[in-house]
Amino acid sequence: MSAIETIAAPRKIPDRLDTPLKGAVLSWEALLIAVAVTIFVINSLASPYFLNAWSLSDLTFNFTEKGLIALAMALLIISGEIDLSVAAIIALASTLMGMALQADAGTPMLVAIGIGTGLLCGAFNGLLVTGLGLPSIVVTIGTMSLFRGIAFIILGDQAFKGYPASFAFFGQGYVWWVVSFELTLFLIAALVYWFLLHRTSFGRRVFAIGNNPVAAQFSGVRVARVKFILFCLTGLMAGVASVLITSRLGSTRPSIAQGYELEVITMVVLGGVSILGGAGSIAGVVLAAIIMGMVTFGFGLLNVPGIVMSIFIGLLLILVIALPILWRRLFGRRPA
């Protein structure tokens, strides 16, 4: 498959979404919608507290912060790279915001420092990967230790508290009735990333690179530059998430957002983005974020410990990917 063909049909996920049912249209997004509706119904039946506006509003806090990072991560993974350092970026950005707080920085300054730190960390990852041609999975395992390590060096086992009241709005405020600022931001970001990936030439280049970086390079795509921009975007979104989390918790600890990177990547993969690059959609990632939020919240209402939910999320991830393959093996046409 050449890059040109893929650009013509960027939404087609090869080898996975060929419809197993003859004539039936089964897409990844349809599958996710079915899963989402099922979980929603189960939650509604299982708990009397699930179906009301405030409860559903609380639910969104479970996925907005990770979802924001997942949007940028989706583009990065489609381009064939990965960033495991996002949770560490959150910790470092939060720590630097805490330091600025000790120096009596105002809310605008705090936000600028949080987002700026994210952007710089992303640029650092991008430089190492594209500038030196290193494998991103190893580089970001390294920077993950480095970024969080710096947060630990600065903070030790301390915590920064006492953020100003105006700073609390980002993680705790509501724009209208039950619609939180975090949810609004997530929805706007989802639209922006959908437009970027599916409606611009930049998005086409991301798909082209993921399908065949060599062909893309020879077709005039500046592969290194696009990848560098994607690393910066992922870092930027981690910075934004850091502002939201720090604001919601009202404190900074170096162990903040532990394990988030794996949850974000799970979200992206569950959303139908191929970990091998070259295929995926923003709609799928948004659905996956909502599904993971609902699972977490629903189990929480039933007093199921978080660790047990992770079994369900893990199984969901493997099943959603394995079932279409199994289905095709069992009922698909045998290759001649």
């Binding site: 999975i137 920077t143 480095l146 390079q217 660790i307 047990v308 079994i311 369900f312 991830l317």
Partner: protein, 325 residues
């Protein structure tokens, strides 16, 4: 290829020697043989785990579920011991290796038979095994009061002047060396990573090689499950949380290439020792342990940058010319 590996291992040996020399300047007692043996013993579990991870990485896969496998298997054997203290410890060790291998085989089957990328499979099983650890124990933990004395004592026993835990590591290193360099299994694991297409034409089943590698990594994770809970005398849901990345870091520092096919038993062991020396040295030279993460992160990046030069593919070079033109 072998020349490249030799160069990497020599480089690591030199780096470790320099590290020990630098520590000795601040704290002369660190280089005493007794202390170095203690560092080796302390790093035993990481070394064994790094060897299992290396087998998987050689086949162009990655196993993120090792630490969760360790926690789950450790919990099961600790519960077995708590409920049936009469079962002899060698049987417990066999049980640990068998359970670990079965969990690894689950990863392997998904990778081999369904062709799902290893990173996705093991990302899923990482959370599944960790959750299962909580479930099998009903949310509780097993501590010293519920473990039999023999269960705890075995790996602390001394044999020929070395703790039994160190002997586990030594036996694992020798076994891995023989399997990886002297058997068809080892050769197929290397071949699957160096050039999968060529391996297929040479009659090697690449999927099967990956499956075997996952069984191996599962088996050593299971064994380390027993070693871990008996060493730290606690089996809990949080055991070895986040440790999967330390294992991969040891491999990367040891020169095991994430692109597959490049790596050696000596390298993986040295990589683990490098991390072990750092974590053991920081307290004695009065550096806050909070520095450890940043130091290992820097070491990983340095290793990747240094090792990347030997791994450049031909296509990359052509591309560089195209960029320059």
């Amino acid at each position: 290829m072998s020349a490249l590996l030799k160069y990497r291992e020599m480089f690591l040996v030199a780096a470790i020697a320099l590290l020990i020399a630098a520590i000795t300047l601040r704290f002369p007692a660190f280089a005493r043989p007794g202390n170095l043996a203690a560092v080796f013993n302390d790093t035993s579990i990481l070394m064994i785990l790094a060897l299992g991870q290396m087998a998987v990485i050689l086949t162009r896969s990655i196993d993120l579920s090792m630490a969760s496998n360790l926690a789950l298997t450790g919990m099961i054997v600790a519960l077995t011991n708590a409920n049936f203290p009469g079962i002899p410890i060698p049987l417990i060790i066999l049980e640990a290796m068998a359970i670990g291998a079965v969990l690894g085989a689950f990863n392997g089957v998904l990778v081999w038979k369904l062709g799902i990328p290893a990173i996705v499979v093991t990302l899923g099983t990482l959370t599944i095994f960790r959750g299962a650890t909580f479930v099998v124990a009903g949310g509780t933990w097993v501590n010293a009061d519920r473990m039999s004395p023999a269960f705890i004592a075995l790996q602390r026993g001394v044999f020929l002047g070395m703790p039994v835990l160190s002997w586990f590591a030594i036996v694992a290193i020798i076994t891995f060396y023989l399997v990886m360099t002297r058997t068809p299994v080892g050769r197929s694991i290397y071949a699957a990573g160096v050039n999968p297409s060529a391996a297929v034409y040479a009659g090697i089943d690449v999927g099967r090689a990956k499956f075997i590698a996952f069984c191996i990594s599962g088996m050593v994770a299971g064994l380390c499950g027993y070693l871990w809970v008996s060493r730290y005398v606690i089996a809990a849901t949080e055991v070895a949380n986040g440790y999967e990345l330390n294992i991969i870091a040891a491999c990367v520092i040891g020169g095991v290439s994430i692109a597959g096919g490049i790596g050696s038993v000596g390298g993986a062991v040295l990589g683990a020792l490098f991390l072990g020396i750092i974590s053991n040295a920081l307290p004695v030279i009065n550096i806050s342990p909070f520095w450890q993460m940043a130091i290992s992160g820097t070491a990983i990046l340095a290793a990747v940058i240094l090792n990347a030069r030997g791994e450049r593919k031909q296509g990359r070079i052509i591309l560089k010319k195209a960029e320059a033109a």
